[in-house]
Assembly symmetry: C2
Homo-oligomer: 356 residues x 2
């Protein structure tokens, strides 16, 4: 196991672990004693019908959603029991750098979006006895998991809001993620996944961050010098002073585990490759929420999927930050849009709730 303080509770906020026991993976292999790190906000009501599940994005942790949650937000802990779940391999839940042999570091198995959602399902049913989810919402890889939830457990998921992500990863996205992966694995310090500190992979992580700087924002973000949204004065402060150190703080193998998973996110694995059939299974009311300036989950890709979902609407979020709009640097300009749509979605009565 490799030490990395980034994932400490001091840094990423409080979380608890749920132990799932030995967990079999879709691609074969087992994670012995799989641990999911989660954080809850609010209380489960007696009808157990006020549950919101929030899965994390690439490189993200449960901390990243703190700004989405509050008594004056749609994700209101006074009203809902919000469970933010760290995806497998994110550095907090069971991950290469925090797992013992036989799955430590380079030996960590391949994990798929479907594994995450099955594990999350096992966790919330076993731990809380939850049978109904009012809303699954997540950004980016969180959107991938959101879609997987809605397809895999159509009777359980009443509403779903995938933000800035797709149900079936695109070929373009696969290639983009490949460049992110290669930036790390090409660093001799990565050493086939067996480094003794993530600091040995600093150069690869820096290049990884630099590729994010190109695709993660938008051309207009740079044109309008919007790094000021992040409280920074110059583009160098944004790239070298913020993005590079941020990505250099992550565990390289965690990013690779998530990258591999992201590349292969595809709900049509549930239906023999038929995306229309998979999305057609969804019973939830779905708001598909792409970001208008997203360079790799473009609105048109998300719209094409939305049109295959029976009870769905397209709600486009405006953010000059592109995909990194998810970070919420625009403050209320961003979060008010999210809240407006999530409030609208949560207010919609859905048929056949188990509690009725």
């Amino acid at each position: 196991m490799v030490k990395n303080d980034f994932y400490s509770q001091e840094n990423v906020g409080p979380y608890e672990f749920y132990h799932l026991g030995d967990f079999e993976l879709e691609d074969g292999g087992i994670i012995p004693d799989l641990k999911l790190a989660y954080r809850t906000h609010g209380k489960l009501n007696s009808a157990k019908d006020n549950v919101i599940v929030v899965p994390t994005w690439f490189s993200g942790t449960s901390k990243d959603y703190e700004a989405y949650i509050g008594v004056d937000r749609a994700l209101n802990p006074d009203q809902y029991f919000i469970i933010v779940i760290n995806q497998i391999g994110n550095g907090v839940s069971s991950s290469p750098h925090n797992s013992p042999e036989p799955i430590a570091m380079a030996n960590f198995p391949n994990v798929r979006i479907g594994d995450d959602v099955r594990a999350q399902h096992q966790f919330i049913t076993e731990k809380f006895g939850i049978e109904e989810i009012a809303l699954v919402v997540g950004g980016s890889m969180g959107a991938q998991q959101t879609y997987e939830w809605a397809v895999r457990y159509p009777d359980m998921v009443k509403r779903a809001a995938p933000i800035a992500g797709t149900a079936k990863n695109t070929v373009h996205d696969f290639l983009f993620t490949k460049t992110l992966i290669d930036a790390i694995t090409s660093d001799p310090g990565w050493n086939g996944g067996n480094y003794s500190s993530h600091l040995e992979v600093a150069e690869g992580l820096k290049r990884h961050a630099d590729i994010w700087s190109v695709l993660g924002l938008s051309t207009e973000f740079y044109k309008q010098e919007k790094w000021k949204l992040f409280g920074l004065e110059t583009v160098e402060e944004f790239t070298e002073g913020f993005l590079q150190p941020l990505f250099q703080s992550f565990d390289p193998n965690a990013l690779l585990t998530m990258g591999w998973k992201w590349q292969r996110g595809d709900v049509s694995r549930n239906t023999g490759g038929n995306l229309e059939e998979a999305l057609g299974r969804i019973k939830a009311k779905v708001f598909v929420m792409p970001i208008d300036e997203d360079m790799f989950f473009p609105v048109r890709d998300c719209k094409a999927e939305q049109e295959l979902i029976p009870n769905s609407e397209l709600k486009v979020i405006k953010s000059i930050c592109g995909h990194f709009g998810l970070f919420g640097a625009e403050g209320t300009d961003y979060h008010n849009q999210i809240d407006e749509y999530l409030n609208e979605l949560l207010a919609i009565k859905v048929a056949e709730t188990i509690s009725e």
Copy 2:
């Protein structure tokens, strides 16, 4: 000097050299006996007013414009004297791998767009006695040179058509180019620029190609599986079978020389940083021709510059291939658009031609 058959006339078509003597560079230093490789199509008329200058793009050579030139095209050699000029450092004109000491390989000096255009100006005035250019047209870095021509020699350039490029490189583009550069320089085989064969940098060039695969095309290109336009059956054939070998055939230092130059292309260097003043100097009739799906020279960036050019119009080219639309893989669907606009531009009477 390092051998690389890619740049042979057998491969990139016929070219001739013009020797400019020792050439002083904007950033200091000299290229001793600078050689510009060029190819002409058609004949210079007696009035010397039928000249079209075509500068090359990043990684490109004079061969790349062959499909743009023909008796049934706007760039008609029966009518015009078309001079296609290989930019400095492109691997054919004076470049790191083909230059002797003291500027061989890692010692090759930094070259700017302004150096190219001054060299091209010296070449065509000395060699052909040209005082008037009917049209400067070029794609990508060719567009950067086109803008530089129009700003630097406003009385000489009567018409200009920058395709898929900008007058002042954007911050986003700078960062994108940085990832392309870093993919090469991070390869231990690059060895600080002193390799004995470009094959030693194959891994870095592969990653360089992979980044191009993400930004060079468009999300819709992949969505619609348009690699068929390149005569290829699968995306693997397109990326691993076409793009990777293509970029692996180039000289790494040539790409770095061009990348450095591309990052710093900026006509406002002529006006103390005032872009409006620089573009305001242009006397040519200008058609600004971005490609609608271009991911890094987006239409809005090009439009913002066009609006600063007195006698200009925006003509958007449609290509699902994005920036690589320039390759012309769409055949007549692409070239007919280029021809339509160039024919329209060439048909416009311009004031004060020297020959009148």
